[in-house]
């Protein structure tokens, strides 16, 4: 296997974390259709902060994110080895209960996908499938979560109308609220602002910064400036390997690795 000069595993792991991390990745390898997509990933993702995964297209950043949620399970010819511990529990253990694991992680995808139902039902969907039947409680959850994402005032008079009538920026905030309604501990964002206009993007970014006090957030982004604006930590992935992991300013301003330097400067993208 090719190793990058100056990179040793210790360097990527020397950040002292305040508490046991929510997510610990150990010796993770992912093969898709025979190709080695993720190679020996070892990483602790810090709690209550935003970690951005950056890297060129096809480097495996989205695969890494989806591996955290076991969303790769249903894809064709995928082989995952190693372990991902969420609160110490290995989600790739044989007896792991997948729906329970996924409930802990809210996913915000590239494009908003509202469910084919009303605004209210979109938010209430998660709590409902997890057994909440009390209408009063559901109404409270809907209001709280819509307020959380700053959508309440815009939609409170039309909670019963279809969610597809909202603007794309509003839809993305609705999707965030829908994810938060199942009380996850972790938020995963897969280029969540790539379909949005600059103002909606800013709204989502500010929300994520605000939400990090309660959640651990992992984002995939290909926009360096966005990574700089929102994240506390940056993980640079290249060819399926972790090249550099550290505090945002360390990685972006003083990258230790040559490839990171080239990427940050825009020579490779």
């Amino acid at each position: 296997m090719y190793t990058y000069p100056g990179i040793e595993t210790e360097e990527t792991q020397d950040i002292i974390l305040p508490a046991a991390p929510h997510i610990q990745i150990k010796d993770l390898n992912v093969h898709i259709e025979g190709k080695h997509i993720l190679k020996n990933i070892n990483l602790d993702i810090p709690n209550n902060s935003v970690t951005s995964i950056i890297g060129p297209s096809g480097c495996g950043k989205t695969t890494l994110l989806k591996t955290l949620n076991r969303l790769m399970d249903d894809s064709k010819n995928v082989a995952v080895s190693g372990s991902v511990l969420v609160n110490g529990e290995d989600i790739y253990a044989k007896d792991a209960e997948v729906t329970h694991i996924r409930k802990k992680m809210g996913l915000l995808s590239q494009r908003p996908f509202p469910l084919p139902m009303s605004i209210f039902d979109n938010i209430a969907y998660g709590p409902r499938i997890h057994g909440e039947r009390n209408k009063k409680v559901l109404a409270e959850i809907v209001e709280t979560q819509l307020k959380n994402v700053g959508l309440w005032d815009e939609v409170k008079d039309r909670l019963d109308s279809s969610a597809t009538g909202l603007s794309i920026g509003q839809q993305q905030r609705l999707c965030l609220a829908r994810g938060l309604a199942v009380q996850p501990e972790i938020i995963l964002g897969d280029e969540s602002t790539s379909a949005l206009d600059p103002i909606s993007t800013q709204t989502i970014e500010n929300l994520l910064i605000e939400l990090k006090k309660d959640y651990t957030i992992v984002l995939v982004t290909h926009i360096l400036r966005q990574a700089r604006r929102v994240s506390d930590y940056i993980l640079f992935v290249y060819n399926g390997e972790i090249v550099e992991f550290g505090k945002t300013e360390d990685v972006l301003l003083y990258p230790k690795n040559e490839i990171t330097q080239q990427y940050v400067k825009g020579f490779i993208s």
């Binding site: 949620n69 969303l71 249903d74 894809s75 064709k76 010819n77 729906t99 329970h100 996924r102 409930k103 992680m105 809210g106 996913l107 995808s109 590239q110 494009r111 996908f113 509202p114 469910l115 084919p116 139902m117 969907y125 998660g126 499938i129 997890h130 279809s162 597809t164 999707c175 829908r178 994810g179 199942v182 995963l188």
Partner: protein
């Protein structure tokens, strides 16, 4: 310059070819409807659609084809309903529960493709031998069994194609909220609801128009279909019998029967479109 001209000429030829095929298909459709209307409309009467065949109906005496209209409607509706009850879960299973691209999924889909293409007389023959084995005589029940078998592949393959068009990210939405596959499937079915109506319409159209499948299994009766274990008349067979008559009056009634069948299908198509368009507001 000449290169550009050549490309533009190709573009023009392609366009003309497409327009020609469009026009010829539309024209032949109009021709079919025109002939049915021209030959059948003079014989279409209230008596024709409100009465059962009286004595001597097939030699030009009074009566109607209500037996066949009801028989066909029962047969097609029950079969389509059964085919969707059986077929939709199969399609969901193949898409959501079986690993995508697995040997099992591919073989089952191939099998349904083959079943899709098998002529209905083969279904009729198979169902006929099953009926003999079970001791069922030619009856509405026999027809329902045959036509259900015939329409299941249509439902499975159409719904399967619909489910395949759903973006993966959409499936991931409910999945990452902690939904089970079945809960996810319910949401996906909501998305493809307009398409499901189309699938059922296709199945219904095949069911109501089939002759060969019902020939051996359903029989024919001049009475209204009252019991499922008795022979029942169907419109395509009624058309077939009347058309083979040498009497012009009876032949005219065959075209009138064809007209009734066409109207039923038109009515179903319009209803499907209305139902489907009402669902559009939820489109992604």
């Amino acid at each position: 310059m000449s290169h550009v001209n050549r490309r533009l000429r190709k573009e023009k030829i392609a366009k003309i070819l497409m327009q020609l095929s469009g026009i010829s298909i539309t024209a032949s459709l109009f021709l079919i409807v025109g002939i049915i209307l021209y030959k059948g409309l003079p014989y279409l009467s209230w008596e024709m659609i409100s009465q059962t065949p009286q004595g001597g109906f097939y030699i030009g005496k009074s009566g109607g084809i209500l037996n066949a209209i009801l028989g066909s409607l029962y047969l097609a509706s029950i079969s389509t309903a059964l085919a969707s009850i059986i077929g939709i879960p199969i399609a969901i299973y193949l898409n959501m529960y079986v690993k995508n691209g697995s040997f099992f999924a591919r073989s089952v889909k191939l099998l349904f493709d083959v079943l899709f293409g098998i002529p209905s007389i083969v279904y009729g023959a198979i169902a006929f031998s099953i009926m003999i084995w079970l001791g069922i005589r030619a009856s509405l029940l026999g027809g329902v069994i045959t036509i259900t078998l015939l329409t299941i592949p249509i439902v499975v393959r159409t719904i399967d194609e619909l489910l395949k068009t759903i973006p993966v990210d959409l499936k991931n939405v409910t999945v990452s909220l902690g939904a089970t596959r079945w809960e996810t499937a319910k949401i996906l079915l909501r998305y493809i609801k307009p398409g499901i109506f189309t699938a059922l319409l296709l199945a219904f159209g095949r069911a109501i128009g089939d002759v060969a499948g019902v020939l051996l299994t359903t029989g024919f009766s001049d009475n209204l279909p009252k019991y499922i274990d008795e022979p029942a008349a169907t419109l395509p067979l009624a058309i077939f019998f009347q058309l083979s008559s040498p009497i012009p009056e009876v032949q005219g009634r065959a075209y009138a029967s064809a007209l009734v069948l066409t109207f039923i299908i038109l009515f179903i198509v319009i209803c499907t479109h209305i139902l489907a368009s009402k669902q559009k507001k939820h489109k992604i």
